[in-house]
Amino acid sequence: MPFLVAFPLAGILTGIAGVTVAIPALRLHGIYLAIFTLALSILMDDLIVLAEPITGGVAGKYMGGVEIFGHLVDRWGTPEQFFWLVLAVTVLVTLGYINLLRTPLGRSFIAVRDSEVSAQAMGIDIARTKTVSFALSCAVTGWAGALMGLYAGAFNNESFSVVISIQLLMMIVIGGLGSIHGAFLGAIIIGFLPQFLSIAKENVGALFGGSTVAIPGLEFGIFGMILIGFILFEPMGIYGRWLKIRTWFELFPFYRKDMFKRQKSYLKTERLR
């Protein structure tokens, strides 16, 4: 099957998979939904192994380059082409996303998030909205998976583990929750951080004249500390920091230090639905 057919199809199929997941998950909220999806991801691992004829089981599958209009796009052979392919997909998806957010469907997402009762009273079908959101996010993730496969060249049941899901979540936190900017900023940081750390590690090692001795888990440790730092000092992520800097310049010289100081706030139970 040509890539240009297979690729959209991948999104559609994962979208359908998203729908099948969404239907039983419709009545779930918060932690219940979180653990539901977590359990699913654990199950998925085993399903991939069980579905060996399709998935190649533990041995996994391999993916070479693909041809688009006669251009060979291969991670290893023609990295520039690969880059353009990924960039194009990312830009298109982001544009679609922005469009969605300014049209009825996108607004109904916000409505369902903030108040299910009044969304219903506005004529929004909660079940359908949630299902569509699952389908869309799964479809986009499916494309990401396809590109990831093209990037890694090989994938099996362990390629896409829970740890990656957690990492993705962390990306969003570091970038800034709930904004497209934040997602990109976070992805950039998380993408470069491991490489940056290992480079830094070598240089530090060289500085002290020692060898590049590895400390087990150092990266995750540092990663965790950076995250804790962000949540404590810049809960809005890098994007939030950027907004503050922008405000500072916009208002200069009228900026007050406590402009973003939070007044005490208090939580109420989320056990009422």
Binding site: R256, D258, M259, F260, K261, R262, Q263, K264, Y266, T269, R271, L272
Partner: protein, 257 residues
């Protein structure tokens, strides 16, 4: 006239960059009922929250019984005898009515006293007794309001801060609640600071009134004097000539603006 038990001087509070109260000063004397009137967003609730410590003031002092209490943690302020009765949605929804009342007496230790108080609350609000084993979240809006007031009474406060006790209550209940407040003031000499939209009832009950607009106190005086003021009558008591329909959008300028 006795010395004020609660005295607020030049308080300023912020929500982020927005100044919600801008230098408010007021006094409450022992045994007095003080009403604060004002439009929505004038800063009345913010003022109360600042007194009870759930918001920090940026400037100014709050003196209670000779001690400065501004910026103290809220539970310390409760221990000193200031109890804030929030509007009705602030009950503990998954606890029973009885448990809500017990928590009201959190700072007290005399078990017999607590049980007496509980019976007193039940006598004021019989419906709460009927529903004492029901989860508070399942009560109707008005019943939650009653529970919030009853819970405040359980703390045996020296001064009660009441935030819109009549919100969402039927006219009959509003009368009853204000009757209860009156009785508390008469029988137990309870000091109260009251924020109300129902200015009629509030001024009727109060000894002294303050009017807040956009974070400032713009007017104050004994309740009966305020009730006679033309501005108050126009803007807070709803006493206005039912003019011709054509004039209905015409708004009189408030003299203090």
């Amino acid at each position: 006239m006795s010395a004020p038990i609660l005295s607020i001087r030049n308080i300023e509070s912020f929500y982020g960059p927005i100044m919600a109260i801008r230098g408010v000063s007021l006094d409450v004397r022992p045994g007095q009922i003080v009403s604060i009137l004002g439009a929505n967003g004038a800063g009345k609730t913010t003022l109360m929250k600042t007194v009870s410590g759930v918001m920090d003031p940026e400037k100014g002092t709050i003196t209670f019984d000779g001690e400065e209490i501004q910026g103290l943690e809220p539970h310390k302020i409760v221990q000193k005898g200031i109890v804030h009765v929030p509007e009705g949605r602030e009950v503990f929804p998954l606890l029973t009515v009885n448990e809500n009342l017990s928590l009201g007496a959190y700072t007290l230790h005399d078990k017999a006293q607590i049980e007496r108080d509980r019976e007193m609350v039940f006598s004021y609000f019989p419906v709460l007794k009927e529903r004492r084993n029901q989860e508070a979240g399942t009560l109707s809006g008005g019943q939650q309001q009653m529970l919030a007031i009853g819970r405040g009474l359980m703390a045996n406060p020296r001064i009660m801060l009441l935030d819109e006790p009549s919100l969402g209550l039927s006219p009959l209940l509003v009368q009853e609640i204000f009757g209860i407040l009156r009785r508390l003031n008469d029988e137990q000499n309870m000091t109260m600071m009251l924020v109300e939209q129902n200015a009629n009832a509030a001024l009727e009950l109060a000894d002294h009134g303050y009017v807040m607009e956009v974070g400032r106190i713009v007017m104050d005086g004994p309740a009966d004097v305020l009730m006679r003021s033309e501005d108050i009558q126009n803007f807070y008591l709803g006493v206005q000539e039912e003019g011709a329909r054509e004039n209905r959008r015409w708004k009189r300028k408030k003299t203090w603006r």
